[in-house]
């Protein structure tokens, strides 16, 4: 083995220019590949975390048909037992109950359709990070009558400022329409202009007073100590309580699950493109090196070097070259990700477009050790596969090639 390593290593450097070019290709390819994976992972993680942390939480409980029909009368049945269960259950970190109705938003400028969400500001603060989205003014616990906060986009469309009064009209539980004036206490920016245009937040007590005589809830959002426990918690709730349905974050927001799948698929495609390009580079280099050395390989077999040793000599050359490039490329990529993870990548020039659909404009690339080692493993595997053909050609060399004139 030692002799094979020695001859393979020296063979790599007999054509320094060619080996250096391939090494550079491996380094750049890996660096770009890992960085792409890091950016994509960072982008997806941020998007998912943002949605989960600011509104969806780890699981939600609704009336079984509420999410499809959005009817005001589809309230949660008596929630006392469920609240007790949530208070007692160890895996639950916090929860918040909400009332939600579809309604009309009227300003002196125009009327827009919105989703009106009544929240308990104290519980909401403990459960979600939505309050961090407030960019000016106060949350709905400010000491004014019927406070409401709007998305910046909606406010701009209606030319509204803090302190202005707007009217919300919606259907009550008994089917009658209710209209009430609300005072704008603040503006929020969630990261999704679509969300900011279509949602207003009011105080739960204010909304409940208008909806029915008794306090009613349409949604309970729950945050657990560990997101991984969401599925078991959902199963437990669904088994124990009738007339309601609990769903995990990915069931509530299937587009997030699709996003994760799409992201993984995109990463697979990007990685494969880089790896295939790398594999052909290695194949080409090794074939060129082989054809230049066919007489030498004939000589090695003539004097008694076994064909299997010749095979491994060629494989080792490619593996050593690739590992050298991989170590440099991975170190560079790791360093780059560490720096960018601290500093962030500002996509300001695309911000208008991606912000529209709720994506963050500053991305913090991240890569897991698993992804990192998977890429390394893929590189080594692709190298081995790309080397098999040249190594097989070397394995089959006729020892009489040694006497052929060049």
């Amino acid at each position: 083995m030692k002799i094979l390593l020695k001859i393979a290593w020296r063979n790599i450097w007999r054509n320094k220019g060619r080996s250096a070019a391939l090494l550079t290709a491996i380094v750049i390819g890996l660096w770009a590949g890992v960085l792409t994976v890091g950016l994509m992972t960072g982008l997806l993680d941020q998007r998912i975390d943002n949605l989960i942390d600011s509104e969806i939480a780890h699981l939600q409980v609704h009336h079984p048909e509420f999410r499809e029909e959005h009817r005001p009368e589809m309230v949660l049945p008596d929630v006392t037992e469920l609240i007790e269960w949530l208070d007692d259950h160890e895996s639950v970190r916090s929860y918040t109950a909400r009332s939600i109705v579809e309604g009309m938003f009227q300003s002196p400028v125009k009327t827009s359709g919105v989703r009106i969400m009544g929240v308990d500001p104290d519980r909401e603060r403990k459960t979600t990070t939505f309050h961090e989205n407030i960019v000016s003014g106060d949350y709905v616990d400010v000491d004014i009558r019927n406070p409401v906060i709007l998305g910046l986009e909606l406010a701009e469309e209606h030319n509204i400022e803090i302190g202005h009064r707007i009217v919300l009209t919606f259907e009550q539980l008994d089917g009658d329409l209710a209209s009430a004036a609300f005072n704008v206490s603040g503006f929020f920016r969630s990261g999704s202009t679509q969300y900011d245009r279509g949602n207003v937040i009011v105080n739960l007590t204010d909304l409940q007073a208008l909806l029915s005589e008794e306090p009613v809830f349409h949604e309970i959002a729950v945050v657990l100590h560990d997101i991984e426990e969401a599925e078991s918690a959902v199963m437990a709730i669904n088994e124990q309580f009738d007339g309601l349905v609990a769903q995990t974050w990915d069931q509530l927001s299937p587009e997030l699950g699709t996003l994760v799948l799409l992201g993984s698929f995109m990463l697979f495609i990007v990685t494969m493109v880089i790896m295939i390009a790398l594999a052909f580079g290695i194949l080409n280099t090794m074939l060129m090196a082989l054809f230049e050395r066919i007489r030498e390989i004939g000589m090695l077999i003539s004097i008694g070097m076994s064909r299997i040793r010749v095979f491994f000599m060629i494989v080792l050359e490619a593996v050593m070259l690739t590992i050298s490039g991989a170590v440099i490329g991975m170190a560079l990529a790791w360093g780059t990700i560490l720096i960018l993870n601290r500093e962030g990548v500002d996509l300001a020039i695309f911000a208008g477009g991606i912000e529209e659909i709720g994506w963050p404009t500053v991305i913090y690339p991240a890569i897991t050790m698993g992804e990192f080692f998977s890429i390394t493993l893929v590189v080594i595997t692709m190298t081995l596969l790309a080397t098999l053909y040249p190594a097989y050609k070397a394995f089959r060399v006729n020892p009489m090639e040694v006497e052929k004139d060049t």
């Binding site: 063979n11 070097m305 040793r309």
Partner: protein, 237 residues
């Protein structure tokens, strides 16, 4: 017992299309310590016969023995292993490993044989001394002249302690001085250590120094002559 023996070996290329009979019923026997040259015009079958003797190629028919082993019965893998331990090769184009020094080139074959590190380095140094390259053992092939490279090749061929050495046109790429120097070394080893040499050649300088000359014409043995060494020839050259 003969070092090498062939029995009516034939080699036919393209047997299914346009057959070319490279060797026709060639039977020769080489004894230990012989200094034999295979001569003949181009296309006479010298290299083909050398390939058969070196177990590099298989005859279409006939048998070939090295010692008491019928090499024509061995598989490709067995023949490679057999060559490693029994046959030394010197090629026309030297064919040293360019990334190895002279010492590493000589010791390489011993590494393949599994000889211990210390022993193989000692033997490599001895062999390089014996071919007059004791002071160039760390030089790589491109730093050596053609004659020096061929001497390293002879040292490499001897390193495996083979039964015999096959040399294909060993002086073809050398000037007269380098060629004579190489022949002196080969002759000395033949005389002092009874190393058996079989070489193909066109070179009259080599033919005159051979003790046995086997002439091939059209793939068949035309003549097989044993000659006395003409010291005058050696001196004149």
């Amino acid at each position: 017992m003969a070092v090498i023996r062939t029995e009516k070996i034939c080699k036919v290329y393209n047997p299914d299309t346009i057959p070319v009979h490279a060797l026709k019923d060639v039977s020769i026997q080489v004894e230990k310590g012989e200094f034999t040259s295979l001569v003949g015009p181009s296309g006479s079958g010298k290299t083909t016969l050398l390939n058969m003797l070196g177990a590099l190629d298989m005859p279409s028919s006939g048998k070939s023995f090295i010692g008491d082993v019928e090499v024509t019965r061995l598989s490709d893998r067995e023949r490679i292993r057999f060559r490693l331990h029994n046959i030394g090769f010197v090629f026309q184009h030297y064919n040293l490993i360019p990334v190895f020094t002279a010492r590493e080139n000589v010791s390489f074959i011993m590494m393949l044989q599994g000889v211990g590190q210390r022993e193989l380095l000692e033997r490599a140094d001895e062999l390089l001394e014996s071919v007059g390259l004791g002071d160039r053992k760390d030089a790589r092939p491109h730093e050596l002249s053609g004659g020096q490279q061929q001497r390293v090749a002879v040292a490499r061929a001897l390193a495996s302690k083979p039964r015999f050495i096959l040399a294909d046109e060993p002086t073809a790429n050398l000037d007269t001085k380098a060629a004579m120097n190489l022949l002196d070394i080969m002759e000395k080893m033949n005389e002092e250590q009874e190393v058996t040499f079989i070489f193909s050649t066109h070179d009259q300088r080599v033919i005159k120094r051979a003790r046995r000359v086997v002439t091939l014409v059209d793939g068949a043995v035309h003549s097989d002559e044993t000659t006395a060494v003409d010291s005058a020839v050696k001196d004149n050259q």
